[in-house]
């Protein structure tokens, strides 16, 4: 009999751990990588307003989060950096109808110490350009910027830029990291990322004719374990606290719909 006791203790421990963890309701928020600085303080404020709730943030490329939700990842709320990664979830009835949460603007950033790129027109002079992969929102926005810039700098501008691309990263923070590290000469990231990396990269504003607006939809995931808490979070995020956190993190004001 004595020999079985460790096994018994182990079983008790295994049974006890989840119960202890269950005491605080956990709200799992899947956030686009660019939202990190904005949602961290917002999550803390939400926890303070809704004890004993705990917010678990999971930041990654929107396309990765979308794929995870499609495969049944336990999320309560999803914030995507574009509609393209949200719409398939709506069509598959995996999320409720999304609403607009934030707006952002793609900008050009260059590595410190590089002075050959003063405007978007100079981009083909970069030796190493890093973009998001085509399915990553920032990768798609960047391509839209280049297409729009073709009206300014000639029809071959997108192709001349593409010829300088050395890597297509899987989320915007990896793109930004390559410029901070000095490995990439330039990259297209969001204005909020440039704000988060203030002093580590140089920001080059885009000409108005090439500018695009990035819209971030937010939605409750239907399979989420905390529907009431998720709805409360959506309201909270879209209220004054959310607006302030987004502004603080360098997001743009959304134009009137």
């Amino acid at each position: 009999m004595r020999r079985r006791r460790p096994l018994l203790v182990l079983l008790l421990l295994l049974g006890a751990t989840p119960a202890a963890a269950r005491q605080r309701p956990e709200l799992v928020v899947f956030e686009a990588a660019s939202l990190k600085e904005a949602l961290a303080p917002l999550a803390a404020a939400f926890e303070a307003a809704h004890p004993p709730a705990r917010v678990i943030l999971n930041a990654a490329g929107s396309q990765e989060l979308r794929a995870q939700i499609e495969h049944g990842a336990p999320a309560d709320v999803f914030v995507s950096a574009d509609h393209r990664q949200m719409d398939p979830l709506v069509a598959a009835h995996l999320v409720e109808t999304p609403v607009r949460f934030a707006c952002n603007r793609p900008v050009l950033v260059t590595r410190l110490g590089l002075d050959t790129i003063a405007s978007l027109a100079d981009l083909p002079r970069a030796q190493r350009l890093v973009l998001g992969a085509p399915e990553v929102p920032i990768g798609a926005y960047a391509e839209r910027v280049f297409r729009r810039a073709a009206t300014l700098y000639g029809a071959d501008f997108p192709a001349r830029v593409q010829a300088r691309v050395v890597s297509r990263e899987l989320n915007v923070r990896q793109v930004l990291a390559k410029v901070i590290l000095g490995e990439a000469d330039a990259a297209v990231v969001y204005a909020s990322d440039a704000a988060a990396a203030r002093g580590k990269v140089r920001v080059v504003a885009l000409p108005p004719a090439a500018d695009v607006l990035a819209e971030y939809p937010i939605a409750r995931v239907r399979a989420g374990a905390q529907p009431a808490l998720a709805r409360a979070f959506l309201d909270f995020a879209r209220g004054p606290a959310g607006v302030a956190a987004l502004k603080e993190a360098g997001f743009a004001a959304c134009p009137a719909p």
Binding site: G61, A67, R128, A133, V166, S167, R168, G182
Partner: protein, 265 residues
């Protein structure tokens, strides 16, 4: 009475052991089966027509071939030196060479960037030579070699240690120089061990993911190897990711069979 109790106890233990063994086996076998059975074959073949597939397969084949050539060319004499070398210094060399095999690939990625990146230790010197390594196919080869070489060196050291010292001594007394003894006696005698190590190293290079992503980036046709293509495809087309995975399973399986056959003969 006591005998029957002991027998019953033995049966219970055997049952418990069988159960956990079966569970682990299922954990290993079931995902591989799901990979093969999870989709109609026609759909999987169609998925291989994805434009990312051919460049990734070509790059994986080419880069792992170059990596393996570098690993074998440099690793064989290095392993010989380690196997013959005595003393604490050689043990330190041996440990250092084996370390990358147990390091997380992400650590390898950071280390490679800090050594050869633009802001890395050798960055300025490389820049003066006009060499930028990150984001090039050369960086893919370096990442693969870094993580895979230890597997070959480890196996080669073990194989060289098993070479009969008398054989080497006889060759020396017959007038062969040290280099000649190494090339014409030690290497041929150790060949089965060397081949097995090379196969393992190749498999590890083919599977390299983390260090490549961090050090070489993800560029179709230039640095996007099959594992990176799988990771990228998972977010756009699951079937393509699945087809490529089956391709890599087939390569790994063929390798295992070849190594087994080599060992038996």
């Amino acid at each position: 009475m006591e005998g029957r109790g002991a027998a019953r106890g033995d049966l219970a233990i055997r049952g418990a052991l069988g159960l956990v063994a079966g569970l682990l086996f299922a954990l290993l076998a079931f995902p591989l089966a799901a990979l093969l059975l999870g989709a109609p074959p026609g759909e999987l073949v169609r998925a291989l027509r994805d434009p990312a597939v051919l460049p990734a397969a070509g790059l994986s084949l080419a880069s792992t071939s170059v990596s393996l050539a570098l690993i074998v060319a440099g690793g064989t004499p290095l392993a010989w030196a380690i196997a013959r070398g005595a003393g604490r210094r050689w043990r330190a060399v041996e440990t250092l060479v084996e370390l990358p095999a147990v390091l997380p690939p992400a650590v390898a990625g950071v280390a490679l960037l800090l050594a050869f990146g633009r802001r890395g230790v050798l960055g300025p010197a490389l820049a003066r030579l006009g060499l930028g390594l990150p984001f090039t196919s050369a960086a893919v080869v370096m990442a693969q070699s870094f993580v895979a070489a230890p597997f070959y060196v480890q196996a080669a050291v073990a194989a060289f240690r098993r070479v009969d010292p008398d054989l080497l001594f006889v060759a020396r007394t017959l007038g062969a120089g040290r280099a000649r003894v190494f090339l014409t006696v030690a290497v041929p005698v150790a060949r089965p061990g060397l081949t097995g190590g090379a196969a393992l190293a190749w498999a590890r290079a083919l599977g390299e993911f983390g260090a490549t992503l961090m050090f070489a980036g993800n560029m179709p046709g230039r640095t996007q190897t099959l594992p990176l293509a799988i990771y990228t495809a998972l977010e756009s087309d699951l079937r393509t990711a699945q087809s490529l995975s089956i391709l890599l399973v087939a390569a790994a399986f063929a390798l295992l069979v070849a190594v087994r056959a080599g060992r038996r003969s």
